[in-house]
């Protein structure tokens, strides 16, 4: 009896030991092997047909979102780092004069609320006295001239920049103000809620406050309020689905990604250019250019099954910082075989230089209007896909 008991106890001890040993052994011997990955389901391509366009021309209104990395990062660092809510940083137009990290949406905008969008010059002058580094803001915005297959032209804006003063000047330089007043621009896409893409919204509103407005559903309550406070008289289209077709051959693609300084989500644009292939255009591309390309590969149907071009901020080294994971991107981008790479803004000069060193087809710029390097497309430059 005692012996049976002992055997049973030993058996249980063996089972308990074996379960752990077997589980850990399997984890170690199988998990990171070719066999384990062979059994993973291969993603099925959906080939969503969203039509085609004849061409897309991008006019770079402004890619210089700020003019001093040191000031920008210094302000963020002083406020507590990359996680701090952007509306508290005490940057224009939400500055209240109380200093680093002591700003707020309400206290900042209160000083200029009655002036936007009709008197932006005075509004910015007031904010200039209250804000940290008021000369640093610039902004990102570009005009998209899309030619449909029937030859009709359609104009869209991607983003509205940051500094009222800089953006108004940039709009006038490229004739955007007149196009907006004449209602020749059919929509404004705000790629994400960040200061340099969104806070210049009153500049667009100044000229057309009923323009169809497209935003990501991750906007925070301050962002939604700012749309109203900017004088917008329409109802923004808040995108909830991953894909929204704007016109044949043009779609907005939505990505749910957390972004620095308490921003959530980004939308980018995809075009199928007839006989050429897919063109991807982004504001900042916080989701990652290859993530966007992978989404397009899996979900969309495009001519020649070919990645033709990309344009925009590719968000790799926006502050000229670096991380080995960016090298993963530089190394891998070649495998996607883009024919034309039009990058700028948060792509970073260092990244552009590394692209060029690897022989990628980077379209160079003219380094005008305060764009600092010809390595990529600067302010006033254009690219046609």
């Amino acid at each position: 009896m005692k012996e049976n008991n002992m055997s049973r106890r030993d058996f249980v001890k063996g089972v308990a030991t074996g379960v752990c040993a077997g589980a850990f052994a399997s984890m170690g011997l199988y998990s990171y092997t070719g066999a384990a990955y062979d059994r993973l389901p291969k993603s099925e391509r959906k080939f969503h047909d969203f039509g085609a366009v004849r061409s897309v021309k991008v006019v770079n209104i402004s890619e210089t979102s700020w003019f001093s990395n040191a000031d920008l990062i210094g302000d963020i660092h002083a406020a507590g780092g990359l996680l701090v809510n952007q509306y508290t940083l005490n940057w224009a137009p939400f500055a209240n004069g109380k200093g680093t990290a002591k700003g707020s949406y309400d206290s900042g905008l209160a000083s200029i609320k009655d002036l936007i969008p009709h008197d932006l010059e005075k509004a910015w002058d007031i904010q200039r006295k209250l804000a940290l580094h008021p000369e640093n803001p610039g902004g990102f915005s570009c005009l998209l001239e899309v030619e449909a297959l029937d030859g009709t032209k359609h104009n869209y804006l991607l983003d509205s920049g940051w500094s009222y003063e800089w953006m108004d000047k940039s709009f006038k330089r490229e004739g955007i103000d007149k196009m907006l007043e004449a209602r020749q621009i059919e929509g404004l896409f705000i790629s994400h809620e960040h200061w340099d893409h969104f806070w210049g919204l009153p500049v667009t509103m100044k000229y057309d406050n009923r323009i169809p407005l497209y935003i990501h559903d991750g906007f925070y309550k301050e962002g939604l309020q700012y749309i109203k406070d900017s004088g917008y008289k329409g109802t923004p289209f808040i995108q909830k689905e991953p894909l929204h077709q704007v016109m044949p051959g043009m779609a907005v693609v939505k990505f749910d990604v957390p972004i620095i300084n308490r921003v959530f989500g980004e939308t980018s644009l995809a075009f199928n250019v007839k006989d050429k292939g897919l063109v991807l255009i982004s504001g900042c591309c916080h989701q990652g250019i290859l993530q966007m390309a992978d989404f397009a590969y899996t979900d969309l149907k495009y001519d020649n099954d070919k990645f033709y071009g990309i344009y925009g901020g590719l968000h790799i080294s926006p502050f000229e910082d670096w991380d080995p994971k960016y090298d993963d991107l530089v190394i891998s981008l070649g495998k996607w075989n883009f024919d034309r790479i039009g990058c700028n803004h948060c792509t970073g000069h260092l990244t552009a230089r590394k692209f060029i060193e690897r022989g990628y087809p980077v379209v160079r710029g003219s380094a005008r209007f305060r764009s600092s390097s010809p390595d990529y497309l600067g302010n006033g430059d254009t690219i046609t896909f």
């Binding site: 002992m6 055997s7 049973r8 030993d10 058996f11 249980v12 001890k13 063996g14 089972v15 308990a16 030991t17 074996g18 379960v19 040993a21 077997g22 589980a23 850990f24 052994a25 399997s26 984890m27 170690g28 199988y30 998990s31 990171y32 384990a36 990955y37 993973l40 993603s43 040191a70 990062i73 210094g74 963020i76 660092h77 406020a79 507590g80 780092g81 996680l83 701090v84 990604v257 957390p258 972004i259 620095i260 959530f264 916080h286 990652g288 290859l290 993530q291 992978d294 502050f319 000229e320 910082d321 670096w322 991380d323 080995p324 994971k325 090298d327 993963d328 991107l329 190394i331 230089r353």
Partner: protein, 497 residues
């Protein structure tokens, strides 16, 4: 591991020699030189019966955690160290200093009599402040000033800034490098004590013993740092520093990334497995080996092998849930982030592991050693999943972190290690106050602890062999079930909305 009726939060390390030279309450002045660690010489007794000590301590630590988090780490708080690398470096080095002070130096230069007589709050405050001061000297004096000025420039943020790097990133790069060193040391230092039992210097007196083990593990950490992380740092700068480091790093093909996060993954798993081995596993099964050198060697390398198994599984699990990685992408689909997340997931397992050991008397204790080890393993794994889900659902609401799994500034390792540091201050420096108090162990109890070094309660027999075979089959089956279920979880469960 022997538990007492009162409950013992925390297994003391087994560094004592076989002879027990004193009985409880005697030789107060001589105890410093007995070779028995302070943590081993005490028994922690509950002040109140039932679950109250655990509940009170949990509440006290939660409050202390949140206050200190707000003061030091929170991006909305006072010092705002969570940049994230500055805060990450601080909490990793605090962990190391606590381990050195309690495990390696046995609280030297503090007298045993002072440790036994001083109120836990005073003791906790003094020992924590001393550790923080030592940490400051080490970071500022050794890494930034000495290494950063006379060895490798990237340890010194001022030098990086002088070479044109933005102040913020200069500080982040330098603190990242210093932090990486701590990550390696937080595996090797306790591993030398726990797995190698401090050999061959376990019979030296303090501070010779502490200094020797510290220097040896520091040296080993440096070697591991150079073969794992130096290349990562070298490709941070343009152009790649090919004359001073291996570029591209040798792990690129295997890990599908040039990022050193690959090494972070397995090293973090080593750190976690060391403590599991020491606490909930009661050093089983390697303590069945009677030959000292073989047991120590098997323990040291066994921990690494188990950690590698855990590392590969946690990586594969992510691929099963989120789909295969795409190299060059950012965030969730990027291989470098998935490797980092392996380390993060491992840390989520360490929190319930230590809590169970420290505050729940290493429950359960009324089964045979293999059974209780098995139960604790799966129980803490389940609790780790719970902590993981709760963290990602709520942390952005009260810690000032960013919503989402993969934000570059979302480092769950920081709050988790901050919490673990508070556990250690409470149990190691404050004798579990307020729920517990320390009483000296009797000579018999000390002998029992010593006897535990080599387990004798599991012996080879045909029944054990049969059980082992059945168990292994069950373990493999369990693994297959988990691997089968994970893709379904990925498609149906949404933690962050």
């Amino acid at each position: 591991m022997r538990q007492t009726a009162e409950g013992v939060p925390g297994r003391p390390p087994s560094l004592a020699p076989t002879q027990v030279p004193f009985s409880a309450g005697e030789f107060l002045m001589d105890k410093d030189s007995t070779g028995i660690l302070y943590l081993e010489s005490r028994r922690l007794v509950k002040r109140w019966s039932g679950p109250w000590p655990a509940l009170v301590n949990t509440l006290v630590m939660a409050v202390f955690f949140y206050i200190t988090w707000w003061i030091f780490q929170d991006p909305r708080g006072v010092f705002r160290l969570y940049t994230p690398y500055v805060g990450y470096m601080v909490c990793r080095w605090m962990l190391i200093l606590f381990i050195w002070l309690a495990y390696i130096f046995d609280f030297w230069p503090f007298k045993r009599s002072w440790l036994e007589r001083t109120h836990p709050v005073v003791k906790g405050t003094v020992l924590t402040l001393v550790s923080v001061a030592a940490m400051f000297v080490l970071i500022k004096g050794f890494f930034i000033e000495l290494l950063g000025n006379y060895g490798i420039a990237y340890f010194n943020p001022s030098r990086l800034e002088e070479m044109g790097i933005t102040e913020f990133y200069a500080l982040e790069y330098a603190t990242e490098a210093i932090m990486m060193f701590a990550a390696i040391a937080s595996w090797l230092s306790p591993s030398w004590v726990v797995a190698c039992e401090g050999a061959p210097w376990n019979k030296l007196k303090q501070p010779a013993k502490g200094l020797t083990i510290m220097v040896v593990t520091f040296f080993l950490s440096m070697v591991v740092y150079f073969v794992t992380m130096h290349s990562h740092m070298a490709i941070l700068f343009y152009p790649w520093q090919q004359y001073t480091a291996i570029t591209p790093p040798y792990w690129e093909t295997f890990a599908n990334t040039v990022s050193g996060n690959f090494h972070i993954a397995w090293i973090m798993c080593c750190t976690v497995v060391v403590w599991q081995f020491e606490t909930i596993w009661e050093r089983y099964p390697f303590n069945l080996i009677k030959t000292d050198w073989l047991r120590r060697t098997a323990s040291f390398f066994g921990i690494i092998l188990i950690a590698l198994a855990l590392c590969f599984f946690l990586y594969y699990a992510q691929d099963l849930v989120w789909g295969e990685t795409v190299r060059g992408t950012r965030r969730l689909a990027a291989p470098d982030w998935r490797w980092l997340h392996v380390g993060e997931m491992a840390i989520f397992w360490l929190v319930p592991t230590l809590f169970l050991n420290f505050y729940c008397g290493n429950w359960p204790n009324n089964f045979s050693r293999p059974v209780r080890v098995c139960i604790r393993t799966f129980l803490t794994a389940a609790l780790a999943v719970l902590v993981y889900v709760v963290y990602y659902k709520t942390s952005h609401l009260f810690l000032g972190t960013q919503k989402g799994f993969s934000h570059p500034q979302q480092f769950p390792m920081i709050p988790m290690i901050w919490l673990i540091n508070i556990f250690l201050i409470n149990v190691w420096f404050m004798d579990g106050w307020p729920g517990w108090k320390a009483v000296p162990r009797t000579a018999e109890e000390l002998q029992e602890v010593e006897d535990e070094k080599v387990a004798s309660d599991v012996r080879w027999s045909p029944a054990l062999a049969k059980g082992l075979a059945v168990g292994i089959a069950c373990g493999v089956g369990l693994y297959a079930v988990v691997v089968g279920v994970l893709p379904w979880i990925g498609q149906t469960v949404q933690i962050i909305k």
